[in-house]
Symmetry: C2
Amino acid sequence: MESSSARSGGSTRREATRQKLYEAAVTLIAEQGFSATTVDEIAERAGVAKGTVYYNFASKSVLFEELLRHGVGLLTASLKEAAEQTARRGGTKVDALDAMVRAGLVFIDRYPAFTQLYVAELWRTNRAWQSTLMVVRREAVAVVEGVLREGVAAGEFSDEIDVQLTAAALVGMVLVAALDWKSFQPERSLDDVHAALSRLLQGRVSGRV
Amino acid sequence: MESSSARSGGSTRREATRQKLYEAAVTLIAEQGFSATTVDEIAERAGVAKGTVYYNFASKSVLFEELLRHGVGLLTASLKEAAEQTARRGGTKVDALDAMVRAGLVFIDRYPAFTQLYVAELWRTNRAWQSTLMVVRREAVAVVEGVLREGVAAGEFSDEIDVQLTAAALVGMVLVAALDWKSFQPERSLDDVHAALSRLLQGRVSGRV
DNA sequence: AGTTTTGTACTGACCAGTCAGTGCAAATCG
DNA sequence: CGATTTGCACTGACTGGTCAGTACAAAACT
């Protein structure tokens, strides 16, 4: 009954084409923006005929939306994994936050173009994929908010903190620092960057410990 | 010798038109991005003919570049002012950082569209105004870096902090938190948001004080 | 044998930038 | 004084090019 080549869903060939298109689109759109990137360019960089793009995706915007969903899905999974692993090992909530900072850095290190593109589109309004982006953002930030809330409940964090705003600020801290790293001092190591952010996170900038 | 009608520089009329064009362009580009915004739209929103745009600016990109310079100039000045005022009053460097956080929030509160657009374009590569943006960014971040460096020199901050990266992270923290505030909970007061960020800045989230 | 990809050619909407011309107020002229 | 010129600011129809999306027959995969 079962086919020998394990196929879960679509054919492998088609999946490979879609993957190539994602990769081509992500770098081009990160560099130039959505509107300035042409479908011809995407097809060419993917090494594929233009018709193939439209055989695989209903339109340019749909391609982009699926790309967004795909990418943020990876990030969210990675953040969750980091938080859960820390919990399993009996770490504190600060440890969990720190692990998530690292997971964020690893993600950005691996997919800098996606991150760039995500930031560039996130606060736009009046765009077709706005709602998709909103949903997907909530999922990611919610992971951070969850850890903060648990920390408050456990008495590890002050109950005066504003969970939502603090989560956004933490995400912003990592995002901007990492993009800066990649853009302006790419020779530095991930550990190095992580150490700097850890210090800031734990208030060891101003305070003597 | 001197003319009776004291006119310093350009005519008032022209200046007013340029201002209208700036205002129209900033909101449209923040919403849709540079490439997706047409010159016709900008002209229409400014209540001006298309030709007038080209009478006042050499091209669409030039209009945008001057807009960027103009906006970041305002921000930089405001940050400097905050730092200097704190110094004059004999505040600590943490106080100065805090004052700059507030200045940043005030700026974003007043010019949310500009901030949006700035973030969206900052990490793009291969764009015409890339170099302009780079210069202008350095100026703004340099103000924060300056305060951090002085703090280290004065022994107020650990000399192990990475000035450049920490500055970027702080800017990111304020930027993203503020955009989140404006986008998702605009009813909150500036003081409220400032308080949350202050707490984070001073490590009063996790640390017992 | 059905699915996927290719290559080429095409369409029609859209858009940055141009240009000949208008309106108007101050300056110059006769 | 009235008539004419000058220069600035602005206008909006027009042009030349670009690009998303379509069409389709032949080829390549699985």
